[in-house]
């Protein structure tokens, strides 16, 4: 019974299908999350401002570049192009989101300009966002530490001479 349980736990961390599911899930989340930010950069910049954490000179630049990092990492995860590097970047982004939300929670601060120009697709609380981002971070970690052969990877590393497609 104990050995059976150990085998199942090992399967979870070595199953290429679990890795594929994690990549497809996380990749889709990031692609979806990037779209509105790309379409409405001014509104996204206002959201970044609302954390009161970033120097004014950096806010617009972050609003312009961050959504494309999310989009490209999402595409890389879904297609299996440099998945580990993409997961490292998404993990780093998620960690920074978690830190930013936590700082504002600790401050008891919630940005609400009361304006229509800052649209929010959901009215999630800071705690809900923390839980959600922590889960996504765990998925990123799983992709990073996965060690068995991956399925459906166009180019697991850019250095690879031969492509692997499962």
């Amino acid at each position: 019974m104990r050995e059976g349980f150990r085998l199942k736990a090992t399967d979870f961390f070595s199953s290429p299908y679990m890795d594929l599911a994690a990549r497809l899930f996380l990749g889709s989340v990031f692609i979806y999350a990037s779209i509105h930010k790309i379409m409405e950069p001014a509104a996204f910049a206002k959201v970044i401002y609302g954390y009161y954490l970033f120097p004014g000179a950096s806010i617009n630049l972050i609003a312009i570049v961050l959504p494309f990092i999310e989009l490209l990492c999402g595409i890389c995860l879904v297609t299996g192009i440099m998945p580990v590097s993409s997961a490292i970047i998404t993990g780093a982004m998620l960690l920074s989101f978690i830190v930013a939300i936590s700082i504002n929670l600790a401050r008891g601060q919630e940005f609400d300009c009361g304006c229509f120009s800052v649209t929010s697709s959901s009215h999630s609380s800071a705690v809900e966002l923390l839980i959600r981002d922590s889960f996504y971070f765990a998925v990123s970690l799983y992709i990073i530490i996965f060690r068995s052969g991956r399925k459906f990877c166009i180019k697991e590393e850019i250095w690879q001479k031969n492509t692997r497609t499962g």
Partner: protein, 168 residues
């Protein structure tokens, strides 16, 4: 060696994404400047726009609630509240009318009938972290109104100044 390969890949992804982002921002109709206006002491915070209509007028800003109060006392100005109905009902400048900017299409015809072009008005929203008053002002300018003033400190500044307010 493995770590340096990953670093190169990470650098590649970040450079490609940054380049794509900057290029898209440059050609996008809703592109924003590389540096916005995020200092409240200088005025309403905003990301700005790469594609402002040069023919559009620059709305006059009232930079302190006390200045707005002087104009309020003349009785010649209509105060227009660009915030949502709920916020309007909770508290507004005394005598202000509600015109939520997100309902512009539904409300502008009635508004023009009641307050024809030529009406002197001061528009406000929440304060320096909100651009809705500017947005509404721009839309009304497009309808033919001129001389629109924006109270940039919004209802918050007015209320903190101890000036006349009312609520439902």
């Amino acid at each position: 060696m493995e770590k340096s390969k990953k670093l190169v890949e990470i650098f590649l992804i970040l450079m490609l994404a940054s380049s794509a982002g900057l290029l898209r921002n440059h050609i996008h109709t809703k592109g924003i400047p590389l540096k916005g206006h995020w200092d409240k002491s200088e005025g309403v915070v905003t990301a700005g726009s790469n594609n402002s209509d040069p023919a559009a007028g620059v709305l006059e800003e009232i930079r302190s609630p006390a200045e707005a109060k002087k104009l309020f006392d003349t009785g010649k100005y209509l105060f227009v509240d660009a915030r949502g109905t709920e916020m309007f009902m909770e508290g507004r400048v005394k005598g202000a009318v509600s015109f939520p900017v997100n309902k512009f299409d539904a409300l502008w015809q009635d508004f023009i009938k009641k307050y024809p072009v030529g009406t002197s008005m001061i528009i406000y929203c929440s304060g320096r972290e909100c651009e809705d008053s500017h947005t509404l002002g721009g839309l009304l300018e497009g309808m033919g109104y001129s001389g629109i003033k924006i109270m940039i400190d919004g209802f918050l500044g007015w209320h903190e100044g101890g000036f006349p307010i009312e609520s439902d």
